[in-house]
Subunit: 349 residues, 4 copies
């Protein structure tokens, strides 16, 4: 009953097999092998246009380099108040941009609120050097709390980005989970709506270490080869990332794995909704479920082997949580079994 | 006949097997799993003392974070003129130290010359702010051109480091190759001689992506967890690196692989020494051989499938290279076959 | 009727005279002249202990270098939400610390609220690398909105700083204005209460360009000479700053000038309090007055030559401001005449 | 007999007078005053075209921000081996560019050698990420050793800059000294020959603290307002710099002062050439004279009140200096008296 995080899972057997397959023989280093090239072409197919793809080692690297690629002196990036970039990356985005700042934007359900975003951008009038200057907007899809921006919601943010001529980044650490929820194509969820660059995460969804920075307009990536190398993110045996993506994309494995994780979370969410000793914090749409449990029940569940983290309650629900209750996050992954879900639900009947 | 680089090889089957083995099940993320801990303890055994170990993704990351950990404002690090940090890392060390500089030090056979090093350090008198201040010395073991610092040579550099109270870093991208050449233990090649921190590379010697930053005095690493995370080098599924190291160290696999690479290079060097149409640039001691070939012969070899790079001749040999000749680098690895070596030698008889 | 800012004034005649006096002859450069040394000694007297003093060119430089001197990887500095460092320095503190972040802390009347501060610091548990680590607290004395921390209020913040072992910085862009309001000595307002480092501003109070970074424990400043030089803030003819401080401190000119500015502001505040067409936003204690005016009246005053800026209303007063009203900031300085004050008040009777 | 440096002098009386004159009254802050605007217009006249001018506090700031304005990831700037940017700025250029590197280029007489420059640039082939990428060339006019690039010599460097599409920066800490030596106009010495940006120094030539960063193509400066503010180089009472420039330019004071400094140096150089106990290291063309003196004679001169620094001998002359001799630098300025020069020469007859 491990619901700590989707990064507690290992790698899918097909990913392991791909690594073993490509371990033999020799291939050009630093991203120039035949396999690297083939996977880059695969990204073109997946996004239905020519994109510029850069493999990197971590989601933090992808996000930070995305912002570095649009860096401006005194720059300010707008993100949701609970976004990974501002909360969980130890200042890496600021470090890779030499001090460009992240400005938190509030919004319900984990999503940036368009009106608040506009109001925050307006705090930085053009040419007023004291405050600095807007440089980017970043949204997280799926969000940190399991929700998803609908197509219309992306459109709204993209319209603001366009109006203020700001590049729009999508942190897709759980890109696949959002995608299968929406039933969209990658193109529909990104460039067709105005996204400029995506942190395309595969690690949480069945790979060991496979993240890609995808520029939907290759011209935007002119300096990225140098930015990535200078950031120590150019792998010599780069094909070990390419090999993971090969398996990831083959026969739509990635979509299947995300569907499994989402379905398992849905089963968990439904089960807890009907349970007498638990309730849901809010409706998750992907593979993270947030539940309000009695503190004693939570400890008892841990005693029986369940692993999960307490979570800081957003304002919208904090008022509803009793003194003897706790909000917890339950994450499923490609590797989560239905039996574990059912055993967990059973604990709260 | 692939002698382009040791990073053109893939991963050793035992490394692949370890990855497959650990791909199943769940484990704590971000370096806190049982396996991560076990491999950290393994490093203690290998270095015969308690060390602080940090897994990172690339050798450039290891080197850059090592320097970041001893960073000083206006800082200057002394390295060999041909060192990887100054020649081949796109300014990553300077970037990760916010502009601390690398000062090249000359020295024969790829090694920093102690007298020249002292003379360069003296150019930065204490407290003279205009020039900046010394902050570290870094040496490469094995060097960029296949040679190795002997124990006595390390002692000499370490004495200077101690005299000027400068931390001493060892870029060990080919640590194992140097180690087996010297027949020393890791302790003898490092802390027993005054090395403070090591970039411990395994990627070139049979892993996919396994580099470790090893602080021989754990107290020196107090801030490294933050430095590494901020640098986007903390992997969520960190155990995929740990798993590689598990296989790497088991039954001294790493030493066997390095011995194979060195032996193959030795065979190649000996063969070319005796060949009529080739000669050796200098005596390599590890797995890189530098040969002077006729330009036409080199092209002919490439036509027959040999892959290798031309190399910039150091001053010591450039005078001996004819107009119609070229200096080339030939790198062997754990995966290099003797038959390939012999076929290559045959081409130059 | 110029109330735009205290930096719209020029320099006091005694400051000009000192510059003219020291313009002749030769003196050692880069801060090592007899005059530089004498003024450094003067700072020791003023602070009643040995301090380390560094002249810099701007308040932004003083603040940024203060934070650079206590920089930590993934570092977080806590400041008031409206502080100059976070609102008006274009990201300079983040830039000079390579991305260390500023976390805004709310608090009434322009002062950091101790309970909120504690709560914000606790969001960064020791060793939790994802969030980063606390590195400093900074308060502004006088605050951005004209108020002053009392001795007891400084004590409260200092106790928190001590508890969490965080250095405590005071942005003293208007140090003198706060000092004369409190009737304290510099020692009483700083190190006797736990302040570690002060941005000691003189520019707004009668100098051209005279800012000093004062370390109350000289040992904390060991690296500052390099930090300052690397930041391009070491002036070759440094004595031009020293000369300004010479005049500034002579016969307590600095305190007289601050008293004048405060008194003029007090007169303005009292006058507007009694005026029929204006009211005060809150009680200022120094040389900035915040008034709520009718929009038409404000424009009319501007038409008659008054210069002042609209100000963003803090939450505490925004509810009390009518649609046809505006909050404005009125700043006095050493150069403000009482007649200008009286003429301005007259406009709102 | 003070020949230590031109920055040991104070300010010219006309500069002091201008500061006193503008000390009265109020003026808009942060560079937007009438005086600031007027001086900016004056720069347009002086350079015979519309330029973008930014006042900063130090020459190191001007140089560093110039390079920051053309910054590229993994960037490399080419400069003379003895240039101020690489030798005497404590890594400020690297710091302000987040680690972009300076590559030293050799060349006789303090000037970058065009052939060597080309050869160094070629070490960085386009797109080869490991080495980094060229980003700028910088030359110093006058050079660190008193020589001057002729028009033809600037043309040669500019042709290389153009060929490789690299911006060309001129460190003009002693711009006026070079200008009057050449008898050129500012336009002829800069943009008419291909210079893109100039660090225009006035501090060494009679001001207290007046440096300007001049972009000869204003479009290149689009981000500079933010770069400068973020670097803490935007002065609130910016007109104190403008006032100095007002006096500096009035009635060609700046050219007169530079002529005086050069003439005094010329007298010194001629005198020492004819002296029996001294000889010249090389022909200086501006206000720095380099002489080879007997060590005992040098000490004796110091004993009689002469102040000057020993200088590191360049290779071209080091062979000619005896064991009991020393190379010294003697700098004159606007404030150097002929009597001091004559007294000094007399010591070496």
């Amino acid at each position: 009953m491990i619901f700590a995080s989707d990064n507690w899972a290992g790698a899918h057997p097909k990913v392991s097999a791909a690594l073993a397959r490509h371990a033999e023989g020799f291939a050009a280093a630093y991203g120039s092998s035949t396999l690297d090239r083939a996977i880059e072409a695969r990204f073109n197919e997946i996004f239905e246009r020519e994109v510029a793809v850069f493999f990197v080692g971590t989601g933090t690297a992808a996000n930070s380099l995305a912002l570095a690629s649009v860096n401006r002196p005194g720059g300010v990036t707008f993100c949701h108040r609970e976004a990974h970039v501002i909360e969980d990356e130890c200042g890496a985005p600021e470090f890779f941009t030499h001090g460009a700042r992240l400005v938190p934007v509030d919004g319900p359900d984990g999503r940036v609120d368009p009106a608040t975003l506009t109001s925050e951008i307006r705090r930085f009038p053009p040419g007023f050097v004291h405050h600095g200057q807007p440089m980017a907007i970043t949204i997280t899809q799926a969000t940190e709390i399991g929700t998803v921006y609908s197509g219309a919601q992306i459109d709204e943010i993209a319209a603001i980005a366009k109006h203020y001529q700001l590049p729009l980044h999508m942190d897709g650490a759980r890109f696949a989970n959002a995608l299968v929820h929406l039933g969209m194509t990658p193109a529909e969820m990104t460039w067709k709506r105005g996204i400029d660059v995506v942190s395309f995460g595969a690690t949480k969804n069945g790979c060991w270490c496979a993240e890609a920075l995808v520029f939907l307009n290759p011209a935007d990536a002119a300096d990225l080869p140098f930015i990535r190398k200078r950031a120590a993110q150019l792998f010599s045996k780069s094909r070990f990332i390419a090999a993971q993506f090969e398996a990831y994309f083959e026969d739509d494995l990635w979509l299947d794995l995300a569907r499994h994780a989402n379905a398992t979370a849905g089963r968990l969410q439904a089960g807890l909704t009907g349970a007498s000793r638990a309730r849901i914090g809010w409706q998750s749409q992907t593979n993270e479920v947030f539940a309000i449990l009695g503190k004693e029940d939570a400890e008892a569940a841990r005693g029986k082997g369940a692993i999960f983290y307490d979570w800081k309650a957003p304002r919208s629900v904090s008022g509803t949580i009793g003194e003897d209750e706790t909000l917890v996050r339950l994450v499923t992954s490609f590797a989560t079994g239905e039996d574990d879900v059912d055993r967990f639900i059973e604990l709260f009947q």
